[in-house]
Subunit: 472 residues, 2 copies
């Protein structure tokens, strides 16, 4: 069976770079660095991820909007911390045709400064709250670090939810809902993750606090897939998003945002894939079941008829199925669909017809099964669910084996992945550990865990645990 | 019943401007002129239109891709006519953060110059052809004319199909397929249209020929909803899109494109709407049937139960249904759903329960019907289809009554809408008529119609008919 030139276990990053193009997800030859072409298969996959997000948004009463891409400099500059955080990474439009613009416009790096002037027009009274909106759009950030398909790009396929609330507590409820959304969504994608509360110096520009959502890639580096921000009234004040409460008093809204990106696809590729190619959980697989007729002379008709029967039954059950009846060898077909990560392959040949059976082969572990035609649909659906669960468990084992809590820097240095060390609460101590471990702070665990040991840098009593990891 | 401040028949353009905001389609208060905010209802509607287009693309073997928004100046400048046509209307990015870019980038006004350098890498042999791709993205054009929501904007919600072919004839087949797609699509949207072959001086920059697809708005102006372009090898040459044919010889591809935009939504609003608001054909209506319980004291439970029963049955039949059980008067509910253009309203009250019936009210003509509960589903579906057909017929009558063929400019001056006049083939004569009629040339009818009279400007024998109209 053909495999990737670079093995996943030998050089994860190179393997990743190879697989994203080999599996037709994207084309990296576009003449602007970090802006890649979405090929049809990659775009389809991303659309299925987007649709899972849309389902969650619908369920939780968020409304999809679409705000302009371009933001006038004056709107952008209203919140000081925000411009400090993003000012150096935005793209500026200065000319239209041959004319110089009176005011410069920028490409949204995220949409707070596009949306909030309009939110201030939409919101009048407490009856307008909560306002729960989201959009799925492209955003732009001038990345100076090395780019990597889906993981670090300059044109980002971006999900952003923006909500406005009557009071801090209602915004906190939203944060809880966001966490539940993440749990449901990433369970479907077989991606176990951890939440961390970002340290003060590394929260989103303008936020009151930031919760990050990280997965562990097989390279031992973490990949941040999303973030949830509590803004309090930090943006509502400069953008004047006010409402009249039920006592007739005008108050500033409390706001939250929730951001995710195509990094989700990067995590699916990186965590589940192997040397044969992609491995997709069925929820997002463009083809969930591929049927390959095994044809020998004389039995073509019967075999194809049986394939078609199965196809129809599976489609009626809401599955995305494909019959590959091209005139190439079954081996070549297997190779292609394995590369594309189709979770389950079905083979039907003359012998199977005789035995009233079909053959199923799992993409994730190659397990081959002979299933009676009488209960094939139920078995196939069950297997798809088992694959999803097994992918989740495998990734969970990876995460758990590489997330350790230790008391000393010496112990931490011996570890790969995510390390939790006691922390006194001082920025300097955390940055010192970052330096020593050549990693980044991820943040504190959300659970309010007591830490009774002392900070390994200053020896003062630790207030909490702090997570460190090498990151993408 | 509340109505718009401005009546559609009094001042169509003002009525249109009022209705797009009143019905919550968009917000025009964004601080950049011509870049509007898509509100949830408008975005949903547009998404249903997009999905109809996606269905057609799937049916015809086109693959969805997504190319970067930004185009390097050097890629853009490869096709001379193209840059001449678009150079004055593109937005330029000159800076990233505080750094000046080495090469300027522009926001795509359309994606030929982004896609074709990559197509030249994708296509190697005749086996790679035809290449049929499309994308639905935002494009940008620096409009200097007056902007109008969905009709003339600077950030455009854009559909663009790009195909590459083995030979001119195969590209011509694609043009025919595109025409069939338009017929199916616009029939679903109840929008009758005409195809015209654009004159040489008004074809797409770089095209061999251009076919435009225009509808007639109730103001008497035409609105171009789409265009189909035959490029021949005009782009393939500068972008070196070559393939090896089955004789081993290298040839340039022949290419076509197909473009449409949010103007489709503008046409739906403008052509079908009335003084009460939007009128939507069911294919794109976010809510196809709204059920309003007519509640009097004592019978609440039974009425709501009956509403729920109907809701479930309609949903099972694949319809988008909503029960409006808010605590406001039925009249207010009627007003809101009429404004939103829901094609069919169902009312159920205690009297209807007694009579085992429901009441349906058509949005387009107000027709009220009493339908037995026993065949309510079939009747509702039939009515939705009738509404769609009636909307189409009404619009077709408008188009036919305002599209006339005459021989003299004097006669043409008396007419509104689309006028066909004999044409000798000279640009000067057509431009002269444009001036006199204060309109634009739309192009020639596609049907090869003989014209035996003489050109009303130069008196030379006419070669064909030329259409003129005031346009948006």
């Amino acid at each position: 069976m053909p495999e990737t030139k670079v093995k996943k276990t030998d050089d994860f990053n190179e393997w990743y770079n190879e697989i994203v193009e080999l599996a037709d997800l994207c084309d990296k030859r576009y003449p602007i660095k970090g802006m890649n072409v979405w090929r049809p298969y990659g775009w389809k996959l991303m659309s299925f991820v987007d649709n899972l997000i849309r389902d969650e948004m619908l369920k939780t009463g968020h409304h999809e909007v679409c705000f302009p891409l371009l933001i006038p400099e004056s709107s952008f500059k209203k919140e000081e911390e925000h411009i400090e955080g993003f000012g150096s990474e935005v793209y500026w439009i200065t000319h239209a045709g041959l004319n110089k613009l009176e005011e410069k416009w920028l490409l949204r790096p995220t949409s707070e400064t596009a949306m909030y002037p309009i939110f201030s027009l939409w919101i009048r009274s407490h009856a307008d709250l909560p306002l729960k909106t989201y959009q799925i759009v492209n955003t732009f950030r001038y990345e100076t670090k090395q780019t990597r398909a889906f993981i670090r790009v300059r044109e980002i396929h971006f999900f952003e939810a923006h909500t406005c609330h009557n009071g801090f507590d209602d915004a906190e409820k939203q944060i809880n809902e966001d966490k539940e959304i993440a749990k449901r969504l990433f369970e479907k994608l077989s991606l176990p993750f951890i939440f961390s509360k970002r340290p003060e110096w590394d929260k989103f520009a303008g936020a009151f606090y930031t919760i990050s959502l990280d997965v562990l890639m097989p390279s031992g580096r973490t990949l941040q897939l999303g973030s949830i921000h509590q803004y309090k009234d930090n943006f509502a004040k400069p953008y004047e998003i006010k409402y009249e409460n039920d006592k007739g008093k005008h108050e500033f809204c409390n706001q939250t945002t929730y951001g995710m990106s195509e990094r989700i696809l990067g995590a699916i590729v990186g965590i589940h894939g192997d040397n044969k190619g992609l491995v997709m959980p069925y929820e997002v697989a463009p083809v969930q079941v591929v049927i390959v007729p095994i044809i020998f002379k004389g039995k073509e008709k019967e075999v194809l008829k049986s394939c078609n029967n199965l196809y129809e039954k599976l489609e009626k059950n809401g599955l995305r199925v494909h019959i590959d009846d091209r005139d190439i060898t079954p081996g070549n077909k297997f190779y292609e669909w394995e590369l594309k990560g189709v979770p389950l392959r079905v083979e039907i040949g003359p012998k199977d017809l005789e035995k009233n059976q079909i053959v199923t082969v799992r993409r994730d572990n190659g397990e081959k099964k002979f299933i009676s035609n009488d209960n094939s649909i139920g078995e196939i659906i069950k297997t798809l669910k088992t694959i999803k669960k097994d992918l989740f468990e495998k990734a969970k084992t990876l995460l758990e084996n590489n997330k350790k809590r230790v008391n000393s820097i010496e112990d931490a240095k011996k570890l790969k992945g995510i390390v939790e060390l006691p922390w006194c609460g001082n920025e300097e101590c955390a940055l010192e550990i970052e330096n020593i471990l050549e990693g980044n702070t991820l943040g504190e665990p959300l659970e309010d865990e007591k830490c009774t040991v002392s900070c390994p840098v200053c020896n003062n009593p630790a207030k909490t645990w702090m997570r460190y990891a090498k990151t993408y």
